[in-house]
């Protein structure tokens, strides 16, 4: 990697046809950290502009989804939520799910949405999906308040295991970034992706124990395959970190491995596609 790393006045930048597979250049990314910050900040600022309720939507969205699922699955279908009140049971899963869902929605269309930047200015392209995921993380932070309020109402107490939320959140962010890298790069060439994402997310949601407990999935082979879905480990981990019960087992390990594989392959794929973004988008 001779190219990139701009800055100091005498540094020489090389221009040549890019060939083959390139890894991600962390040093260059670090150099562009302020751009990451500003693009994230822009996404946050702009999202709720001219919405009367503004940032309150970050709280309202999970509240409304929790209400809907509680009525349909908790009240009407009487899904077993163990010894937890159903709304708390589902809210604890919906929060990381929302983080994943929104991140994926935003990042998959991010490159196309920022086409004007891509065709005019050079910077590591990965900054675009990255900052759109980071912007969603801020919403997530706000929506956590909601969780603690709900826990107080339903008299569920918080323990030290709640600190596990931090690595679990990180895992969610990495998972959505990994999938987001694949989808955003593909979407530059094939706009079919943005049509597919809503369905993908719908399937993904039902393939994650959000509205139902994991116990309804048969143990053994099926459960192992099921656990390859990174969000299974995350959601189970969230419930455990907040309410105790069975700690996450192998499923979390499977999930983490799946995320790492997706992320690394996604980064390489993205870097390979990156060269043509400005010509194709």
């Amino acid at each position: 990697m001779v190219e990139a790393k701009p800055l100091t006045s005498n540094q020489v930048v090389t221009i040549k046809p890019a060939k083959g597979w390139l890894g991600i250049d962390l040093q260059e990314l670090w150099h562009y950290r302020e751009l990451i910050y500003f693009l994230t900040w822009r996404d946050i600022k702009v999202r709720y502009k001219q919405a009367a309720l503004g940032i309150a939507w970050a709280i309202l969205q999970p509240v409304l989804t929790t209400a809907i699922t509680s009525i349909v699955f908790g009240y009407l279908l009487k899904v077993d939520s163990g010894n937890l009140p159903y709304p708390v049971f589902t809210l604890a899963a919906l929060l990381p799910w929302h983080l994943f869902q929104l991140s994926l929605q935003k990042s998959s269309i991010s490159l196309v949405g920022n086409a004007n930047l891509i065709t005019k200015i050079y910077f590591p392209r990965v900054i675009i999906p990255l900052s759109s995921v980071l912007a969603v993380l801020v919403d997530f932070g706000i929506s956590l308040i909601l969780l603690f309020v709900a826990m107080a109402i339903f008299k569920v107490s918080l323990t030290w295991t709640a600190l596990w939320l931090i690595p679990l959140t990180l895992l969610t962010v990495l998972a959505s970034l990994a999938v987001g890298l694949w989808l955003s790069a593909l979407n530059v060439q094939y706009r079919d992706i943005q049509q597919m994402v809503p369905f993908l997310l719908q399937i993904w949601m039902y393939a994650t124990p959000i509205v139902y407990p994991i116990t309804i999935i048969p143990e053994g082979m099926i459960r192992d395959i099921y656990s390859l879905n990174p969000m299974v480990g995350v959601v189970q981990g969230f419930r455990w970190a907040l309410f105790g019960g069975t700690p996450p087992d192998m499923s979390l390990l499977f999930s983490s491995i799946a995320v790492i594989v997706l992320l690394i392959s996604g980064l390489f794929f993205f870097r390979r596609m990156e060269k043509t973004f400005a010509d194709v988008v």
Partner: protein, 427 residues
């Protein structure tokens, strides 16, 4: 590369596949369809020839620029200027060749890149600065200067969507002008704003060049090229035709007929995707005999014809042009639905191919060269397409008012006005 060389390129080329661009395989369905067709073609003899056509937007371009030098790049639309700048600013990779750049490259391929309409002027200064490669503390240090230069201090905390287009451009240019890279790549930013602001911009550009930075400057504005650069290269069809002192290069360009035609087609790759469903086809100058011409007479009416295709219905569309001098000073603006009747008749245009034709009456323009910029927009809704340098043409004033005196007359217009001379008694 030697120590005092700032830009060094050897044999740079860029190939695009036009076939693939025109029927872009943007959806999976297209890919599947074209793959199946190809397979079908295998069984039919002789029809397996690929429809893909390759063009070299740039081929075998080599040059060097010394540190602190300002180099102009001249060429008509489609000559490869923008592709060259995109490669030098690393927006896109070359297909072949090799190059080296010493130091940070700042590119002004378009002012206001990354401006967000919902953010305030202040917020956009920081955002745009960061996008252009400035550090936060650099922006903070120059913030007052930028605001001062832009002349919008009163509205600095207003969202830029409420700005007039002039304010918007001034702010955008102000940020860009305060970028301090070692190599500054500039494309046509001077075509915007009023004459006063343009002078200010030219001054700023001059300062940049004087301060020892390397400047690459692309423009259709020949007087700006001559003023700001010592040397220029002339590009045509992707090749460097000439590198010479700027005055010589400008003469070469104007005399070689590289700039003449009287008609302009928009290539597929010159039309941004954002202009859909509006697709410009051609703009032409037609003389009184109905011929497409680059040179018309002031004493005859001149027709400006814009052909375009709407790939979908558009409501409130207006298609028109700006007339500029070659120095970029606006003379007038006119849209096809300016008149009350046409405005009512064409509230909405269904998809199809159209030609909007405008007659500039005889005895309007003075002698000289003029530039037409095209604009297609729906007022307050969307600007579909804009090309500030769509076409240029010359006007010959022979026979026009006052030509009995063979002296140049200042001014862009030369109306035949009615005068009366009265005798008010004798002294």
């Amino acid at each position: 590369m030697e120590k005092d060389t700032s830009i060094f390129v050897r044999g740079i080329g860029k190939r695009y596949q036009i076939g693939a661009f025109q029927e872009r395989q943007d959806t999976l369905r297209d890919v599947i369809v074209s793959r199946t067709q190809k397979m079908g073609n295998l069984f039919r003899k002789g029809s397996s020839k690929s429809k893909k056509e390759e063009i070299w937007a740039l081929r075998d371009v080599s040059f060097e620029v010394k540190q602190g030098q300002a180099l102009g790049i001249i060429g008509r639309n489609g000559a490869g200027k923008s592709t060259l700048l995109k490669i030098l600013s690393r927006v896109t990779d070359p297909t072949e060749g090799y190059g080296e750049l010493r130091g940070r490259v700042g590119s002004l391929l378009e002012v206001g890149t990354g401006f967000h309409p919902e953010l305030t002027g202040r917020e956009n200064i920081f955002l745009n600065g960061a996008i252009l490669g400035m550090q936060k503390r650099e922006i903070e240090a120059r913030f007052d200067e930028i605001v001062d230069f832009s002349e919008v201090e009163k509205f600095i905390d207003t969202p830029v969507k409420r700005y007039s287009s002039g304010m918007y451009l001034r702010l955008a240019f102000a940020v860009a002008a305060h970028l301090e890279p070692e190599i500054l790549v500039v494309d046509e930013v001077l075509a915007v704003g009023d004459a006063d602001f343009q002078r200010k911009c030219l001054g700023k550009m001059g300062d940049v060049a004087d301060s020892g930075r390397t400047v690459l400057f692309v423009s259709h504005n020949m007087s700006a090229i001559s003023r700001l650069t010592q040397e220029s290269i002339v590009l045509d069809k992707g090749n460097v035709l000439l590198r010479a002192p700027s005055s010589e290069a400008v003469d070469f360009y104007l005399n070689r007929g590289l700039s003449k035609m009287g008609e302009r087609y928009w290539e597929e790759d010159e039309i941004p995707a954002s202009s859909a469903p509006f697709k410009p086809l051609t703009i032409r100058i037609i003389d009184k005999d109905g011929h497409v011409s680059d040179s018309v007479r002031s004493v005859d009416p001149v027709t400006v014809e814009i052909e375009y295709e709407l790939t979908g219905d558009i409501t409130g569309l207006r298609v028109g042009y700006y007339l500029f001098t070659t120095r970029g000073e606006p003379i007038f603006t006119s849209f096809d639905t300016d008149s009350e009747e046409l405005f009512r008749e064409f509230t909405s245009r269904p998809k199809g191919v159209y030609a909007s034709r405008c007659i500039i009456p005889a005895h309007t323009l003075n002698e000289g060269r003029f530039v037409l910029g095209v604009n297609a927009s729906s007022y307050h809704i969307k600007r579909y397409f804009q090309d500030d340098q769509a076409l240029s043409f010359s006007v010959d004033a022979s026979g026009a008012a006052g030509t009995q005196w063979p002296e140049p007359r200042p001014g862009a217009v030369r109306p035949a006005l009615e005068w009366k001379i009265e005798e008010r008694g004798r002294a």
